[in-house]
């Protein structure tokens, strides 16, 4: 059974003025453990698709069903709570809380989940170790490189033990070494812990590492193909 399923998913921006059809009747499923890249030119609808799947935006038509629940029909407050427990996010600009240390950034989402202090600390430390930032737990974002910040963002996304992680252009602001390092970490987690990753990306380095590549054009799925991973650690 897929963990994510969209049915006739459509999104029209400015329906009353100059309508922009960002998504047109998209039907797609994602299974647990996938490492998927959604690619396409700018304006093809890949970010909109991720926003719909992540419950950050509401579709004009259609459904987004995650683990059997239609999140597009949920009230805003319930959707926020749903995101807290089910979806992890990695953003292009890292979006860490600048006044928090790496550990605090990772811990914050678990605090929102009201986990015990001991569990929060242990899990935050373990995750930061996994992303190779064991020595930077007490550093603030300004004291870290872009790659390191994005690794903290990945650790934060994993902290809530989500069903899947949505990463919007995660490597767009990273140099090659940092990007490859980040992809290695995410790939390892996918392989070893069966964490589901869905990326929207332009970056060929990400596309090359994905085992499923969805190509979008004009708000529709143009191609959906599985591929052999070209370079893996």
């Amino acid at each position: 059974m897929p963990i994510i399923k969209t049915e006739n998913l459509s999104k029209i921006y400015n329906p009353d003025t100059v309508p922009v059809h960002a998504l047109n009747d998209v039907n797609i499923t994602f299974d647990e453990g996938e490492f998927t890249a959604v690619r396409g030119p700018s304006g093809s609808g890949k970010t909109t698709l991720l926003n719909m799947i992540g419950g950050l935006d509401k579709p004009t038509k259609g459904e987004v069903i995650i683990n059997g629940q239609d999140i597009s029909k949920m009230k805003d407050s319930k959707r926020i709570d749903f995101r807290l427990h089910n979806i992890g996010f990695v953003f292009q600009h890292y979006n860490l809380i600048p006044v928090f240390t790496a550990r605090e950034n990772v811990s914050f989402i678990m605090l929102l989940q009201k986990r015990s202090k001991k569990e929060i600390r242990e899990r935050a430390d373990a995750l930061l170790d996994q992303v190779g930032l064991g020595k930077k737990k007490d550093s603030r974002p300004v004291q870290m490189s872009g790659g390191e910040q994005q690794r903290v963002a990945v650790a934060r996304a994993l902290a809530s033990e989500p069903k899947f992680i949505l990463a919007d252009e995660p490597t767009a602001n990273l140099d090659t070494e940092s990007a490859m390092n980040l992809l290695d970490i995410m790939n390892k987690m996918n392989q070893e812990q069966n964490v589901t990753f869905i990326f929207s990306t332009h970056d060929q380095r990400v596309i090359d590492r994905a085992r499923r590549v969805i190509t979008m054009v004009d708000g529709a799925i143009h191609k959906d193909e599985k591929q052999e991973v070209l370079s893996e650690q």
């Binding site: 970010t47 991720l50 926003n51 992540g54 950050l56 935006d57 805003d76 407050s77 926020i80 709570d81 995101r83 807290l84 427990h85 992890g88 996010f89 953003f91 292009q92 600009h93 979006n95 809380i97 600048p98 006044v99 928090f100 914050f108 989402i109 605090l111 929102l112 989940q113 934060r156 809530s160 919007d168 252009e169 767009a172």
Partner: protein, 406 residues
Amino acid sequence: MKTLINISWRNIWRHPARSSVLIAAIVAGLWAGVVTVGLINGLMLQRIDYLIESEVTHAQVHNPEFLSEGYSWLHIPEHDEIARWLEDDSRVQSYTLRTITDGMLQSPVKTSGVRIRGVDTETETRTTTFHENIVEGEYLDSDIPNAVIMGKTLAEDHNMEVGNRIVLTFEDTNNELTSGSFNIVGIFQSASTTYDELNVFVRSDELNQLLSEETIYHEIGMMLEHEDLASSVVSDINQTFTGVEAQTWRQLSPELSMLVELGDFMVILITLIIMIALAFGILNTMLMALFERMRELGMLISIGMSRMRVFIMIMMESIILTITGAAAGMLLAWFSINHFSESGLNLEMFAEGAAQLGWDHIIYPVLTPLEYVVILIVVVAITMLASMYPALKGIRINPLEAARNT
């Protein structure tokens, strides 16, 4: 909540300069405001206390027509009975009887219209503090017969000094003009130069000898155990005795009553100005902070932070900022008021003008603990109100802000 307080506190210090400037503005504004309120309070209370304690007293009894007509035959009937009643009433601390008439003061230099106040030195000294206004010579308890004390400005006007003689002329109760020669034994200086120009004091028994065949009094002044008792004592006197009218100091001196209201109004006005400035300061800072952090707030909502928590976080930032500034400002104000309430704030450069208006140039600021608490509560309430708009704006942020790439 602890996490929210923690994140709010750290958010405040993202821009130390900006937050410090705002806190400094709150400290300075609140300090200035609270001290000003204290000074206004002090000024008003000093004026009121001075007038009550030095002359007006908490309540007075007159012949009902005396205050408007001023004739000496409009004296208090049955003053002995009223005196006995006052003697027996536990609410009355002390009282004094006064004989009053209007007349002319003649010196070799000139003639002036004055109010001649005949006082019983013993009860007057027990009841009022007017004798403390003597700046030269002595009070009326001197052994010199037909003693008079006069205001400094009046004495200077007449080129008179202690030891000189003046003649007081007035109508007696039979409408006959009578006059007496009086020896200046003292010069007084009250808070009001106008009062000093228009009043002279003599002993009531000596005045009575010239004024009437019997002992008459026109005014009974009384100090009570507490100012709040004035209304009830006045009401009891008016019910018990006929042909007299008792009035509280507020009724006797409506200008004093107005002064109290004016003081209260000024306090409210100053507080309002400070609060409006504070509200706009908070609003400006919080809106700036909000616009800078749209993406971050969007991220927080994206990852699952409820809008209510975002609201509380923004509110908390404003409240922490204000409480930090307000606490420091109030503390500074408390120290200042405490210091000046003992030593007084000497505005000597305005002494002459203040005296013309009957004000003291040394001000002892006063602020009750309740007033401190009220100001603090108002500050917090205004802060919460001012933070409401940015906080509401904050919770309306679209989580897509987090994904925005520009």
